[in-house]
């Protein structure tokens, strides 16, 4: 094995096509004869559809067809699904209303899909949509999750009384209540985790195509998981059998969760391709992305910590209302439950935890996984209340954390998770060193001399990723397994093609996966091709989300085990040696103790010409596959420290210093890992200071529907971050790796808000810390 390539910051193989304008994203694909789709959307947050008249639109020159929900129903096309069943604490199953791809009788949020117009050009389709006459009867709307369950609130789905989808619990209620009875101190905090709109830079897009000759469909789509899209569209929605539906997710311009889900547009365009017998292409305008991509977060939480006289945490209880929007998106039910409640122990040894979550419908876009998915919400609750507890007890927040850290592994938390390995003190100490903690008071004083308020905040986070052991998630309600597959094909000349079920949409798999192969087989990177994102070439796969690349990489590693084993058998025959004497190192098969050897490519050629081994014992060829099911989650953890400076005259908060020290286990490519952390932190700072998806509480209109209204982090909003790594190898996979894609977004919001509250000297502060809010807080404080 050439180990040196593992752990090296190899430049990315995929970059050349992107820096020369040769990437191939879905909207870059044009199929012969294609027509263009535009979706007519609801202008109302909640309304009955009394009638739809499409005749004028259909009559317009250049219009190919107009379809509504009635047409889908007539063709028995099913609605969209949520694939994770949550059971409420009373034992009942979650109460989900129907989610039709095109609304038939009711619209439930601004942007809900009413009709598809297909025309010769996108502009014509858009123009024609204005000729559709829809008669609406407006209904009252509710957008605030805290009000959704009240008796007078607008009701979205008859199946879910008081808009309540489930009332879930985790942990031990009785032990937690006992801990609070015994507590020497208790600390309470109210928290809002603001609604975010994911905003991958590439808007969602699709091209549906039907081949009348074969009866097969092809869908090109901006997806993080094309096989899951095919499975759902086949088994649940009924577009076509799986073997008659090919789904291709080509280059995808960022996902952050928002492209996991199976959306109405791709379902309708694929179905419509057969109806009009032409390829049908749709690309979202950014304002459509704002309205109809699944949003993230949107929790209202109250949390309470119990402590003994020695400042040790003895109990933790949390009550959260999670807004799931107007319909249940593909994995929405799992986010505020098993991806949230299970992380409420943080890095701390807490003997008793109890968490209740009510999931509610509101007249807003569906809410589902967004970078971190549940774990940022959990970390925000834990790290905010831990910081607040230290402040109330007048203990240094660093010392308070040290006192409560988990120090022995494995550690079973009261909320399912079994932490396998970690060293929280190590990442904390390294971060303190980088940030120069002992001189913070001097920096604060210096800032004060300039009229600025400087604050410091910590976030010692843990997350669970590498989703996930299939039986475990199955027992918790998941409709799918979360293994990953890999197929390794060695060509007769010694090239290697790796077909992975993971999908890369910025993560750099074509490089890191090739490093794993090159390191293992001792062959050059340029001899390796990583192929992903096409159901016609990849056997099956669960896609990429939940920092689960470790699962995909382990599947490749397991397929390579088989390649090596078979190659050794072939080499033994060719070298006329005993199998036991064959060793494989540095890309060569050697007979131990002799100078007889074969290079990897020579064994590959022998495998295919099959002249020198008995094909009755060994099949010709060199191709192996593996399905790897992880035995545990992986548990990245670390420490983020943020220093802010606030200008009391303007309320502007500036990130003055940001340090992140993460433990991702072994690192394959440190350059790529750093990039993931930098991007994640920026999204977290965006949540803490800038971003907020806002609906008008009366009308239910989306107020933040463009980049003019929704504040994306720009280059001059963020500084350079100071990053460090500590390493405790992950014991549950052979590479020792943990996930790194979400940690930045998980850890950073709490660090920023802890710094803001420190600077302002206030207990509670609602994200995002916009200049207006900060200024108002300072005025109120006097």
């Amino acid at each position: 094995m050439t180990a040196s390539i593992i752990g090296s910051g190899v430049k990315r193989k995929e970059d050349h096509r992107f820096i020369t304008g040769q990437g191939r994203y879905t909207d870059d694909i044009s199929r012969p004869g294609q027509a263009h789709a535009y979706f007519l959307r609801s202008p109302h947050a909640h309304a009955k559809i009394k009638s739809i008249d499409t005749s004028a639109a259909r009559a317009k020159k250049g219009v190919v067809a107009v379809f509504t929900g009635a047409d889908l129903t007539a063709d028995k096309i099913g609605g969209l699904i949520c694939g994770w069943m949550i059971t409420s604490k009373d034992g009942s199953q979650m109460k989900a209303g129907a989610h039709p791809a095109l609304a038939s009788d009711t619209v439930r949020y601004v942007g809900d899909h009413v009709a598809i117009v297909i025309a010769e050009t996108h502009a014509l389709a858009r123009d024609a949509s204005e000729l559709i006459k829809v008669e609406y009867e407006e209904l009252p709307a509710v957008v605030d999750p805290a009000k959704a369950q009240s008796a007078g609130a607008a009701q979205l789905h008859a199946e879910a009384p008081r808009n309540t989808i489930y009332q879930w619990e985790i942990g031990n209620k009785a032990e937690t209540e006992a801990a609070f009875k015994r507590a020497a101190h208790t600390v309470k905090l109210s928290l809002i985790n603001n609604r975010l709109i994911p905003n991958a830079m590439e808007p969602r897009a699709c091209v549906g195509e039907y081949d009348d000759g074969t009866g097969g469909y092809t869908l090109y789509v901006t997806s993080q998981n094309p096989h899951v899209a095919r499975l759902v569209m086949s088994a649940f929605i009924g577009i076509a059998p799986e073997h008659k539906l090919r789904v291709v997710a080509p280059d995808v311009g960022g996902g952050f969760g928002s492209k996991i889900f199976i959306y109405a547009e791709e379902v309708v365009c694929t179905w419509a391709a057969k109806k009009v017998n032409r390829p049908v292409k749709w690309t979202a305008e950014r304002s459509e992305s704002f309205m109809s991509d699944a949003h993230g977060r949107d929790h209202v939480t109250s949390a309470e910590l119990a402590l003994d006289a020695d400042a040790r945490i003895t109990g933790f209880r949390v009550k959260t209302i999670a807004n799931l929007g107007a319909y249940m998106s593909t994995f929405s039910s799992s986010v505020p439950t098993y991806l949230y409640g299970t992380l409420l122990s943080g890095q701390y040894a807490i003997p008793a935890i109890y968490c209740e979550v009510d999931a509610v419908y509101t007249n807003t876009a569906p809410v589902d996984a967004y970078r971190g998915a549940g774990r940022p919400e959990a970390t925000f609750v834990v790290e905010r209340i831990v910081e607040e507890a230290a402040r109330q007890l007048k203990i240094d927040p660093v010392e308070f954390r040290r006192k409560n850290f988990v120090r022995e592994f494995p550690h079973q938390t009261p909320v399912i998770m079994n932490y396998d390995a970690g060293d929280y003190e190590a990442s904390l100490n390294e971060a303190l060193k980088i940030v120069d903690y002992k001189n913070f008071p001097a920096r604060k004083a210096e800032a004060k001399s300039r009229g600025k308020l400087r604050g410091i905040g910590f976030s010692t986070y843990i997350e669970a990723c590498g989703l996930a052991p299939s039986a475990a998630v199955g027992s918790l309600g998941a409709g799918v397994g979360l293994w990953e597959s890999a197929e390794v094909r060695v060509t007769p000349t010694g090239g290697v093609e790796v077909f992975t079920g993971a999908h890369s949409h910025g993560q750099g798999h074509e490089t890191t996966f090739a490093q794993v192969v090159a390191g293992r087989l001792g062959i050059p990177m340029e001899n390796i091709e990583i192929i992903h994102g096409d159901t016609a070439s990849v056997q099956f796969g669960m896609g990429t989300y939940g920092s689960r690349t470790s699962v995909g990489m382990t599947a490749i590693s397991r397929a390579l085990d088989k390649i090596e084993a078979k190659a050794k058998r072939i080499a033994a025959h060719v070298l006329e040696a005993s199998l036991a004497d064959i060793v494989f190192e540095n890309g060569e098969f050697k007979v131990a103790g002799t100078d007889r050897k074969l290079a990897f490519h020579e064994v590959a050629l022998n495998a295919y010409i099959a002249h020198k081994f008995p094909t009755s014992e060994i099949e010709p060829g060199l191709k192996e596959s593996a399905f790897h099911d992880p035995t545990n989650f992986t548990f990245p953890a670390g420490c983020h420290i943020c220093e802010v400076e606030i200008d009391p005259e303007t309320g502007v908060t500036t990130i003055a210093n940001f340090v992140a020290v993460d433990d991702f286990g072994n690192v394959i490519n440190p350059m790529i890992v750093e990039g993931q952390v930098q991007g994640g932190i920026t999204q977290g700072i965006g949540q803490a200071l800038l971003e907020h998806g806002v609906y008008d509480t009366e009308s239910g209109q989306l107020i933040t529907g463009s980049y003019m209204d929704y504040t994306m982090p720009r280059a001059d909003d963020v500084p350079n971050y100071k990053l460090g790594l500590t390493v405790t190898p992950c014991p549950s996979n052979p590479l020792g790796v943990k996930g790194c894609g979400e940690a930045g977004a998980i850890a950073s919001p709490a660090a920023v808000i802890n710094a803001v509250t420190d600077a302002l000297g206030v207990k509670e502060f609602e994200m995002p810390a916009t200049p207006a809010r900060v200024w108002q807080t300072l005025q109120a404080r006097g």
Binding site: K11, R12, E14, D15, H16, R17, F18, I19, T20, G21, Q22, G23, R24, Y25, D27, D28, S30, A123, N199, A200, M201, E202, P203, D251, V252, G253, G254, F256, T283, E285, R286, S287, H505, G506, Q507, G508, M671, I672, E674, G675, Q676, Q678, G679, G680, I681, T682, Q683, S706, Y707, M708, M712, P713, R714, A715, D716, V718, N720, Y721, G744
Partner: protein, 158 residues
């Protein structure tokens, strides 16, 4: 439909467009130069930046007809004789891209920025990127790449 003619990446091109056709759509759809991207509908994201007569322009803010007789350079025309432009090379060297979607606009903006401003420092680069959004990188490596390319190009001209 009215006709339009211009020079794109050194080649004379022409076509018929609706009067409302934006330059970016002419490039992407008529010329199939799909390296220039559309990331928003409010001229905020900068994924569509190209050079028109040597200056960076958001090609979603300009009608194709307004580019009549113009010299247009897109990301596809930046590398010369198979050699990457120093900004392209720096983006790869410093990991200034992840998903690649904002990258063409970032690179075209950076080339223009380096042309306009002689001594770029980090703060100036960050301010000059105000019109370009990236959701993946957190900007740090983009800034690093532009800074490195600026220094390299300055050295080459000295």
């Amino acid at each position: 439909m009215p006709g339009v003619a211009m020079t794109v990446n050194g080649k004379a091109v022409s076509g018929e467009v609706e009067p409302r056709t934006l330059l970016v759509h002419f490039l992407r759809e008529n010329l199939r130069l799909t390296g220039t991207h559309v990331g928003c509908d409010t001229s905020q994201c900068g994924a569509c930046v190209v050079h028109v007569n040597g200056k960076a322009v958001k090609s979603c803010t300009m009608l194709a007809l307004q580019a009549e007789s113009a010299q247009v350079t897109t990301i596809e025309g930046l590398a010369k004789d198979g050699k990457l432009h120093p900004v392209q090379a720096a983006f790869k060297e410093h990991h200034g891209l992840q998903c690649g979607f904002c990258t063409p606009g970032m690179i075209m903006t950076a080339v223009d920025m380096i042309r306009r401003i002689p001594n770029l420092d980090e703060t100036t680069i960050r301010q000059q990127l105000e019109g370009n959004l990236c959701r993946c990188t957190g900007y740090q490596n983009i800034v690093k790449a532009i800074h490195a390319a600026a220094n390299e190009m300055k050295g080459a001209h000295a």
